[in-house]
Symmetry: D2
Subunit: 156 residues, 4 copies
Amino acid sequence: MTDNYDECIELMTRRGISLEDCAECTYFLQAKYIKGLTMADCVRAVDEVMHDRDIQNAVIIALELDVLAEKGTIESKYIKEAMMKDDGLFGVDELIGLGMAFNYGPVALTSFGYIDKIKPGRIGELNSKKDSVCNTFADDVIGAIASCAASRLAHA
Amino acid sequence: MTDNYDECIELMTRRGISLEDCAECTYFLQAKYIKGLTMADCVRAVDEVMHDRDIQNAVIIALELDVLAEKGTIESKYIKEAMMKDDGLFGVDELIGLGMAFNYGPVALTSFGYIDKIKPGRIGELNSKKDSVCNTFADDVIGAIASCAASRLAHA
Amino acid sequence: MTDNYDECIELMTRRGISLEDCAECTYFLQAKYIKGLTMADCVRAVDEVMHDRDIQNAVIIALELDVLAEKGTIESKYIKEAMMKDDGLFGVDELIGLGMAFNYGPVALTSFGYIDKIKPGRIGELNSKKDSVCNTFADDVIGAIASCAASRLAHA
Amino acid sequence: MTDNYDECIELMTRRGISLEDCAECTYFLQAKYIKGLTMADCVRAVDEVMHDRDIQNAVIIALELDVLAEKGTIESKYIKEAMMKDDGLFGVDELIGLGMAFNYGPVALTSFGYIDKIKPGRIGELNSKKDSVCNTFADDVIGAIASCAASRLAHA
């Protein structure tokens, strides 16, 4: 299987998500636990997570689903509507985010749950989006990447 | 949130999956543990699972992804190819299947893992598909529904 | 398998955990989402969760582990010490809490992660404990029960 | 946090579990997928898994619970009985096994489910135990370690 790091980063960029956005959330999660933690540490941890193929696959699928919802390509009228308004009970977005976090242990899982409620930094911005834009999966993608990186730092 | 039972069943039917297909796998999983288990019991348990909204959402998203891969609508060349040949390391399909099984406890989770390797009944048929057809998510959908129903029967 | 509701409630009581303690956390989690939510609703949801056998088993095992750590019965010097000081990287407590939350879907999982960081109500009190007391599993038990009840209310 | 590799291996040895026992199950899981796989590869993968602290903690807790059940130290009459006869609906053993497998992604999770049903090698032997012996957690420990190692090999 090829490494899809480049494709993944490109798709994230197109959807308005940078490694720094993720790293800020990682910093938010870990600064109180790790003395002297820097943003550079967080960016490095995020970058390592992005080299994980399971993460890459989940990110690409998740962000493509947002694109497809915007384009109206998803057939199910119900799912399309649920995604366009980020319905709190839709659940598949959290499920993919949690699936990413699973691979990085309990610290990643509880961090993901925390960030999903608090919505710090770029996650909050993506949530207050225009009506024609779908970020249903995008915010969970940032939250999951940030949480996985937080777990790497916690265990370092 | 509206109940999407009907939409879900219709989409499953269009993708060649019946409640009986799922129930057969449930029977395969539970017959050795439950004395006197009938196919009717299994169909009933499967039908109950299909009324769960978390399951409905996951099933619709999963089967739509197969449709989108067949149509070539998914942009990522890599993901499209991985889905068309059901690449064993793709992982997002198992992740959604496991996400469905989570909600039904350890019996559902271990059953899903078992069925994912053995591929009984309709799952095996869906796996030996033509090149133009994508059943990457379809087989995990059957496996997950069957496993959730198996867990319901185990705890009844 | 017998229902262990009574045994479970008794053990919780002995460890200083009431249904109301759990219900307060559930209220904390759901009050902002459900208009007119009452503490009585939360207590009822918590009580329903306590009738789930998978929950009962996990609660009993978890709280017994705290008791055994206090008594010094656990052989492993390392685990005993990690439990007595609730070492943040110990992880088995969160793992059992997450395992309980799994059964109640994504809302329960993200709620558990949130509450694990915020530590509202009784959870915070259990965390600021005396040196001779072990509440390593107790706080995750409350968090998990509260999160499962929150998920029941969200889907009601 | 100190590395508990040595303590973990010693406890496993005392409970009749060797790295080779785990490696045999890993071989059973992966031989059909990886051409030229050797037992030495599997032992190496198992050994790497054993250096993971989350795994060590879960293994120590799990095996101690078996010891405590045998000694009769667990207070709950119900849990003691459920553990001594490895009651199929007890669930906490699978939950800890699944928690270990989570950290190693979907391949580990589905492998754990598969092995939990098939019970190859040492797992089957541990299951047909004498009445005074408790291996409720031991078999899930082997299955989980083997599945995590299988996932490492699959992604190598």
